[in-house]
């Protein structure tokens, strides 16, 4: 390990060291590389006190992030709210539920801003002037925005059928957007070939080990915001399977450095049934088999998740479980979180909410336990899954009499016969 750097790449399987370079695959056993931190070097630096004096962003945890010497960022990424969800608790009958709300992560309203911030810090240090990614949408937005801010060129590849909002939210930053005629797994495969051919920094290919470490900040924030305590359970959406393993890694580091008391946190993974290779592997105990995704939760639609085997292992070791839900339950989950807590999440958040409800009903998450739901993205990006559920209301003339007539017309409808205030105001069709 170099004298100036307290982290380096190592193979997750054979342990071989690779120093620091844009590389994600071990050339001995072809397994993924991961950033290894020298925790002893962080002891005395990564303390509650030092962190409390840091900026209100992920950079307050910089001592355990793989960020090159001299890199400074004024971009306030992360530090998203964590709060109790009392109305959701009543609805789904759990103990203490907390929402970690990355629907408002800046600058692009998903947790992907965290990973991209760390990846691009390294892209610059490695000398790339062009960066890119394969993306189901949120990553595309984050790479496009942050590369613009850093003055890097961006080339972003997405599956052709992505939600229009996610496409527009990438193009607006001036990034080159390439729609690929295939699903995410096809796009991903092409990106690995492009990264081989061109000297570009692909955040989720050759910069992947650095990128993935950014996810740890979700775990650090949860612990700090709970008063340096760990919850009993965490429910995490799974696409590539990386986030759940990194939150677990973050908690383990905090325990190792004495910032929190040792505790066995149970990790629960959430997927959509239409793309559930990891939850299926957890439930059946078999090795993970790839699937062809078919779900409205497109940000989770990765049929062959690279970190799937690690996610499965992390879940089972923790005493947790994984579940998956139908597209109807995903939409109902979005509506439930919005109506109960005023949080509008995208389809992945609907998956997390609906899976939490299912796990409580199964008795896997129990009364009296503290559970954190990781909400990773914003509902404004996937409004297309809801538009058909909410009818266009008739235009009422701006007169009190007309308004009263409008109200009585609502009362006349059989579905709103009770005419209580809730029914009058809520215009949506509930699929749950």
């Amino acid at each position: 390990m170099s004298s100036v750097c307290s982290y380096e790449l190592r193979c997750r399987e054979c342990g071989r060291s690779y120093g620091n370079q844009p590389l994600s695959i071990c050339d001995e056993c072809f397994s993924p590389l991961e950033v290894f931190h020298d925790l002893e070097a962080a002891r005395g630096v990564f303390t509650r006190d030092a962190i409390s004096k840091g900026p209100h962003s992920i950079w307050r945890y910089r001592a355990l992030l793989p960020v090159p010497e001299g890199f400074e960022s004024d971009l306030a990424v992360g530090d998203t709210p964590l709060f109790r969800a009392p109305h959701l608790e009543k609805k789904i009958g759990a103990g203490k539920l907390y929402i970690k709300n990355d629907a408002v992560c800046l600058p692009t309203l998903s947790f992907k801003d965290r990973v991209v911030a760390v990846a691009l810090a390294n892209a610059r240090a490695f000398g790339f002037d062009t960066v890119g990614c394969s993306s189901t949408g949120n990553l595309a937005n984050a790479v496009a925005a942050q590369s613009a801010r850093l003055g890097l060129k961006a080339c972003i590849l997405i599956p052709a059928d992505l939600e229009p909002a996610k496409i527009l939210n990438t193009q607006v930053y001036g990034a080159r957007l390439v729609r690929i005629d295939g699903n995410y797994d096809h796009v991903n495969r092409l990106c690995s070939q492009i990264a081989d051919r061109f000297n570009w920094g692909f955040v989720n290919v050759n910069l992947r080990p650095y990128y993935a470490e950014g996810s740890k900040t979700v775990g650090y924030e949860i612990a700090e915001q709970m008063g340096w305590k760990l919850p009993d359970n965490v429910v995490v959406p799974m696409a590539g399977g990386s986030l759940i393993t990194k939150i677990k890694k973050a908690f383990a580091e905090l325990i190792a450095l004495g910032l929190v008391e040792e505790k066995k946190v149970r990790f629960f993974g959430a997927q959509a049934t239409g793309c559930s290779p990891i939850s299926t592997a957890v439930k059946t105990g078999n090795d993970m088999e790839p699937q062809k995704p078919s779900t409205i939760a497109r940000s989770l639609a990765i049929g062959n998740p690279a970190d799937g085997p690690y996610a499965k292992k992390a879940i089972l070791e923790s005493g947790g479980w994984a579940e998956d839900v139908s597209d109807e339950e995903v939409v109902a989950g979005i509506q439930m979180l919005a109506e109960a807590e005023g949080i509008f999440t995208e389809t992945a958040g609907g998956v997390t909410t609906a899976v939490t409800k299912k796990l409580i009903a199964q008795g896997r998450i129990k009364e009296g336990e503290t559970t954190v739901l990781c909400i990773t993205g914003n509902g404004l990006k996937t409004t297309d899954v809801l538009t058909e559920l909410y009818a266009t209301e008739p235009a009422v003339r701006p007169r009190l009499k007309d308004f009263e007539e409008y109200l009585s017309s609502l009362n006349a409808l059989p579905t709103t016969a009770s005419a209580d205030a809730d029914n009058l105001v809520a215009g949506g069709v509930h699929v749950r």
């Binding site: 056993c29 993924p32 399977g241 986030l243």
Partner: protein, 102 residues
């Protein structure tokens, strides 16, 4: 579909290897193979690149779990894996797993 001896003799698939392999192949990233199925193809790769053979399989003798095999853009596991019979002109790509999403 059964192939006859003369079809087999002329059958050829193009195999593309990832950069991660090139340390063990003298920099080569391609080969042609006349193998009829996956295990034959792996044997062909091992014969052509004996150094690579030391790294390609795990202790159970299977292709390492992070190596994905694609035939003409399709994951070979969707085509029947070992049961899939290569056809003349097939393009086979070996690619290590990569991640995305959360």
């Amino acid at each position: 579909m059964q192939t006859t001896w003369w079809q087999e003799a002329y059958m050829s698939v193009r195999v593309l290897l990832p950069t991660a392999f090139t340390k063990h192949t003298g920099g080569k990233k391609e080969l042609d193979s006349s193998a009829s199925n996956l295990s034959g193809l792996v044997a062909d790769i091992e014969k052509t690149f004996p150094d690579l053979a030391l790294h390609l399989k795990d202790e159970t003798g299977h292709l390492r779990k992070f190596i994905n095999v694609y035939v003409n853009d399709e994951d070979i596991r969707f085509l029947g894996n070992e049961k899939y019979e290569f056809k003349d002109g097939d393009e086979v790509m070996l690619i290590p797993s990569i991640a995305g999403g959360c």
